[in-house]
Amino acid sequence: MDHNYSGILVYLQQAGGGIFSGSMELLAKAIELTQEDPEAEVYAVTAGPLSEEGLAKQLAGYGIRRLFLYSIPADGASLHALSADLVYDAICQCRPAVVLISATIEGRILAPALGIRCGTGVTADCTGLRLEPGQRLIQTRPAFGGNVLADIATEHSRPQIATVRPGIFDPAAPHSGSEAIPYECTRLTAANAAPFALLSHHPRHPGISIESADRIVAIGAGVRSREDIQLFEDFAAQIGAVLACSRKITEKGWLTPDRQIGLSGRSVAPKLLILCGISGSVQFLAGIRRASNIIAINKDPDAPIRAAADLFVEGDVYEFLPALSRLLREE
């Protein structure tokens, strides 16, 4: 193995005129991981329309050694083939021991492509990262439908590439409040290219983030019709929660995929999670491990969700929620 690799490179995904919060979490984690090792520097790479000035404020407190900034004009389509080329270029320039990427739609495409280019292993959807001496990264991720945690290491190749689900780490800048820490910026430009021709693009509502919500009401197949969604939407609004769902609801197209909790959806960490008519499949449970208080409402006392909930209300959600809603209004 080539030991000539050192430091951590973080891929900063651009979104909504700034850096995506999941990427900032990884940047903060990278700074934390390298604290013990004076040899390990933190690098960052980003590709998109943001200028260096636009980025400077967001990156000020983090202590990045070098930023690779690839300017690409923005366009409507979300399918790009470029990032892997650019991030690979940055890897060749700074030779990091570790590459961290947020497990977003984009990150999930990027990481395996980079793994093949670099001839190295990738661990997807990590929930824990630890840096050992020699900058050996111990990567923890769920497997077997989230029922088991696997500790994984990339023993024979570098860099060690890991993706991490958004919302797992704290995004706070380790040095925030202190003076802006200067970093070196390498500016490059690239043309935008999507591999296929975009025929039509229909934007929907601005995406809501269930990952960062403090209160969530989640609905499942216990909901009988699309029209009934409003009942749950209203209840969620009443208690200051956002509405999320199981895959049975997104499959029917009643809510968009950004609301889906679980293995193929989002992983959430609210203080309060109210589950309405959700059975508790292993795939759903994989997304709620970090919730603090879970209350499940289900007609079936033997539903597996009971063992994963703090409180279990055996009852019909159509009777129970209106009663609760009324009580809250009266108080």
Binding site: I109, G121, A124, Q139, F144, N147, F196, S264
Partner: protein, 252 residues
């Protein structure tokens, strides 16, 4: 048109006895009593290939899987549904949680028997659910990839894909060859063959290829730990629940 569909036969994790997750032993040994199923995410992908073939007769569909399992009953079902050719690549090593090695075997098969116009994948499969195999295989084959595809359409030699992102629905015209990764497909189940189709398919067998996986540096598993969330599950009656919940909401 020539289509290659990559699919997987998996264990039904919903059938695992709860306590079996609470040990530190390698879980793959502990769940081998569960029934095998066609990976949920791949059903709609096989169906999408058949729908293309319905619209363009003469389309050649090959379904390929990497497994050390004989899987004969599944293969008959695939032949009966209309898949022309089923291939089982039997790896000489255990490829559990080794997505790059699995992708390499699929890519090698595609390269040897191609060119294919479309190579279709489901987004993920247990036990790893890492979503790496399709992207890694596309990268090895140097194919442009499109993911989160819900539906494929074809007419007059033109193929279009509807892709659903968090905030938009996009329609693309695809240029073959391409790798397509489907998720939440509009037609999510593989069609059920008639008894007659089943009888006709009963003599067909999958082609078996024995292969050693290329020595790719997949990340290595150091060990497993139980991860099941188990909480009190305290039962509260619907009568006392509204008051209790109202209190909790005030507290949090």
């Amino acid at each position: 048109m020539r289509i290659l569909v990559c699919f997987k036969i998996v264990r039904d994790l919903d059938n695992v006895i709860d306590s079996d997750w609470d040990s530190e032993r390698d879980p793959s040994f502990r769940i081998d009593y569960t029934r095998k199923i066609l990976n949920d995410a791949d059903q709609g992908v096989l169906e999408a290939a058949l729908l293309i073939s319905d619209r363009e007769p003469g389309t050649e569909i090959t379904a390929v899987t990497v497994t050390d399992d004989d899987g004969a009953s599944f293969f008959t079902g695939l032949f009966a549904a209309g898949i022309g050719n089923v291939v089982r690549i039997a790896p000489e090593e255990d490829l559990t949680l080794r997505p790059a090695a699995t992708a390499a075997l699929l890519a090698q098969y595609a390269a040897e028997t191609g060119p294919y116009d479309l190579i279709l994948f489901g987004a993920q499969a247990p036990p790893g659910d890492s979503r790496q195999v399709p992207y890694a295989a596309a990268e090895m084959l140097q194919l442009p990839a499109i993911d989160r595809v819900r539906e494929l359409m074809n007419s007059d030699g033109r193929i279009t894909a509807v892709r659903e992102t968090d905030t938009s629905l996009e329609e693309y015209e695809l240029l073959a060859p391409a790798a397509i990764i489907m998720e939440n497909p509009v037609h999510s189940y593989l069609r059920l063959p008639t008894l007659r189709e089943r009888m006709k398919a009963s003599g067909k067998t999958a082609e078996l290829i024995q292969r050693s996986a290329p020595a790719l540096p997949d990340a290595e598993i150091l060990g497993f730990r139980p991860a099941r969330i188990r909480r009190d599950g305290r039962m509260i009656s619907p009568e006392e629940a509204p008051d209790l919940l109202a209190d909790i909401l005030k507290e949090l």
